[in-house]
């Protein structure tokens, strides 16, 4: 029979899994790495669940764990990526025809745009894309609400520009 902690954990998993997973995709490029990061976050949530006292929103607490874990994970992975050999030019990396739907291409462009942002902007961008209030973004990141507002404008502009490339030629 499941105990109270397992039931609480399962409920949290169901209510937050998609948001946490998207956060992972915003921090690492490969899907496999995203799954590893996702699992690492779940383990930390499980480990610290008993210490949650309800002094803040549980979502804020989960995001804090998730973002902090993602930061160290991304720093670790960045080092590994640098060690990997570069891909030869003119290599055909096109996906199978069915996979390359417009939606997939646009999602890929969005991940690339987020990945190109500095770490702090990446955190804010992923929170913003989840409709998180400025106050919560400030609480999670540790910067002021005003500074969040400044950053948000820049991030919105950067992402919109990336997904609306200027047409070449006429």
């Amino acid at each position: 029979m499941k105990n109270a902690k397992e039931l609480q954990f399962e409920a949290l998993y169901q209510s937050h899994k998609d948001k946490v997973y998207r956060l992972c995709l915003g921090f690492v490029r490969e899907k496999e790495q995203a799954n590893d990061l996702f699992q690492e976050i779940l383990i930390k949530i499980w480990r610290h669940l008993d210490s949650f006292k309800g002094e803040s929103e549980i979502s804020t607490w989960i995001y804090r764990i998730a973002y902090n874990t993602a930061l160290t994970f991304a720093a670790r992975e960045k080092k590994k990526d640098q060690k990997q050999t570069e891909m030869p030019e003119n290599l055909d990396l096109s996906e199978p025809e069915n996979y390359n739907s417009e939606q997939e291409i646009r999602i890929q462009m969005l991940y690339e745009a987020i990945n190109e942002l500095p770490e702090l902007d990446r955190v804010i961008a992923t929170l913003l894309l989840e409709n998180t209030a400025y106050k919560s973004i400030a609480e999670i990141s540790g910067i002021s609400e005003n500074y969040v507002a400044v950053k948000v404008n820049r991030i919105k502009a950067a992402l919109t520009q990336k997904l609306n490339p200027q047409p070449h030629g006429n």
Binding site: E6, F9, E10, Y13, K17, D18, V20, Y21, R22, L25, N35, F38, Q39, L42, I43, K44, W46, R47, H48, S51, F52, K53, E55, S56, T60, W61, R64, I65, Y67, N68, T69, L71, T72, A75, R76, K78, K79, Q103, R106, I107, L110, P118, E119, L120, V123, L128, L129, E130, N131, E139, I140, S141, G142, I143, K156, L159, T160, L163, N164
Partner: protein
């Protein structure tokens, strides 16, 4: 077609997590928790057991030098355990009022402490260990001729120095490849968070 930020939000939120075997993960985590608890208890028990072994097996407890040896070894071991526990990168993200800035500062402090342990504190630990062993030898080897005693003292000191040299070299290389890039990355982020 022009994509506005609302479209981007919808696009982002269309991504869903893959099905994950949660029951299996919970079982694994429960097993890991049990194992970690056991390791922690064993680790804690190791220091007093070592000291108890030295007290009862070696003829050290009846002399001032012997007691001094045991005291130095106990202090050195307790100090290293305390330092290592302070540098562990865990249980820092569970606080409800813990922002990213606090987290990054704490991670940096712990990573820098790791470096300090390797560059400075482990050498002090090695010196303390060598001093303690030599003090013990002064007592234990007293009945032997001077040249044997000198060789034993020199051998023990070189042995400790050798072990420390190899250990530190390995730890230093691991620190340079794993922790230093992380330190640089986190420092960059902290500057951004402070701006």
């Amino acid at each position: 077609m022009e994509t506005n930020f609302n479209d981007i939000q919808q696009l982002w939120q269309s991504q869903k997590a893959d099905n994950f075997d949660l029951a299996e993960l919970i079982q694994q985590m429960k097993a890991t928790e049990k194992k970690q608890k056991l390791e922690w208890i064993l680790g804690l028990a190791c220091t007093p057991l070592t000291i108890a072994f030295l007290v009862y097996v070696l003829p050290l407890k009846d002399s001032v030098l012997g007691i001094l040896t045991l005291v130095i070894i106990s202090i050195a071991m307790a100090w290293v355990i305390w330092l290592n526990s302070k540098s562990l990168l865990k249980k820092v993200e569970d606080s409800e009022s813990y922002s990213q800035r606090n987290y990054v500062e704490d991670q940096l402090r712990k990573l820098n402490l790791r470096g300090k342990i390797i560059q400075k504190h482990m050498i002090t630990y090695g010196v303390l260990l060598a001093v303690a062993i030599n003090l013990g030898y002064l007592e234990v080897l007293a009945p032997l001729a001077l040249q044997y005693r000198l060789v034993a003292h020199l051998g023990a000191t070189l042995f400790v120095a050798g072990i420390m040299w190899f250990t530190l070299r390995k730890k230093k290389s691991k620190f340079e490849t794993e922790s230093q890039p992380m330190i640089r990355q986190l420092e960059k982020l902290l500057i951004e968070l402070k701006n």
